[in-house]
Amino acid sequence: MASTVIGAGITVEGEIATDEDVIVGGVVKGKLSAKEGVTIEHGASVEADVASASLVVAGSLIGNVSASERVDLQAGARLVGNVKAARVTIADGAQFKGNVDMDI
């Protein structure tokens, strides 16, 4: 169960740091670091550097990503930024612009 939810209609401007899962359905600007998974839902907008164990993107993300496990871009996702993760998947229909570094 996700413990932190930034739902649709909520905007966070600043830094979010947590040990738990994060689900973003709204807007986050700044920095987002989680020890567990981060999910950026369809319709969500994140303009932040993201550091987490795993990251699932279905919405829009502008910023650099560093994940210790994996990054999954789902159909309809939009990611502009560099990705650093051991495993990266990009689904058909995802939009991506940036460098990928899987050498960690």
Partner: protein
């Protein structure tokens, strides 16, 4: 309902502003203003280091900042609030701790409440009475009734001036700390001053 509520989880720290139109539940720590169109609930483990503005504000945890409710502000048992509280309806439950100026408007409708608030703000006495509140020593705000509604005029004020050093302390012991605090008188504000006074008395004896 649950899928519509945004949650700042227990181990989450937010440094920055939180704005929006939806509801928000704070179980963790928010260091920045919260301005939300829906309701804000600060849970028992939650801490907010800045002001909260929302339609309805419910506090069970700790807030250091002003609480402004468009409809209501409810400070529940175990809550600690340092800051001013303003809303048409203000509830302070027994077992809650509040230090600051409290202003309620007796449950008027939204539009009326807003004009009433503007008039109150224009009054010169508002500032002076606010100073008086901060200067007043501990006044108990825990009558035996289960919930205290403060519908009295704009000057209604409740001071539960306890030392809120426990603001930053962990939530696990705040219940105990609180029950002790309600029985004991507050500690001297400036212990050094008290000591100096004692020495002066001794000097006078000589």
């Amino acid at each position: 309902m649950a899928e519509n509520v945004s949650v700042i989880g227990r181990t989450t720290r937010v440094r920055g502003r939180v704005t929006g139109t939806a509801d928000l539940e704070v179980q963790g720590f928010v260091e920045g203003d919260i301005t939300v169109g829906g309701g804000v609930t600060v849970e028992a483990q939650g801490m907010v280091g800045s002001g909260i503005q929302a339609r309805r504000v419910v506090v069970r945890g700790a807030v250091k900042g002003d609480l402004v409710g468009v409809e209501s502000v409810s400070v529940e048992e175990g809550a600690r609030v340092v800051g001013d509280v303003r809303a048409p309806r203000v509830m302070i439950a027994p077992g809650a701790m509040v230090r600051g100026f409290v202003e309620s408007e007796g449950g008027a409708a939204d539009g009326q409440a807003r004009t009433a608030r503007a008039q109150v703000a224009g009054r010169p006495s508002a500032a002076s009475s606010r100073n008086a509140v901060t200067a007043t020593p501990a006044t108990k705000a825990a009558p035996p009734t289960p919930t205290v509604t403060v519908p009295a005029g704009p000057q209604a004020r409740v001071t539960a001036a306890k030392h809120l050093a426990g603001m930053a302390s962990s939530s696990s012991n705040h219940a105990n700390a609180h029950s002790g605090a309600s029985r004991r008188p507050p500690p001297p504000v400036v212990p050094a001053l008290k000591r100096a006074k004692g020495q002066m008395a001794k000097r006078r004896e000589r």
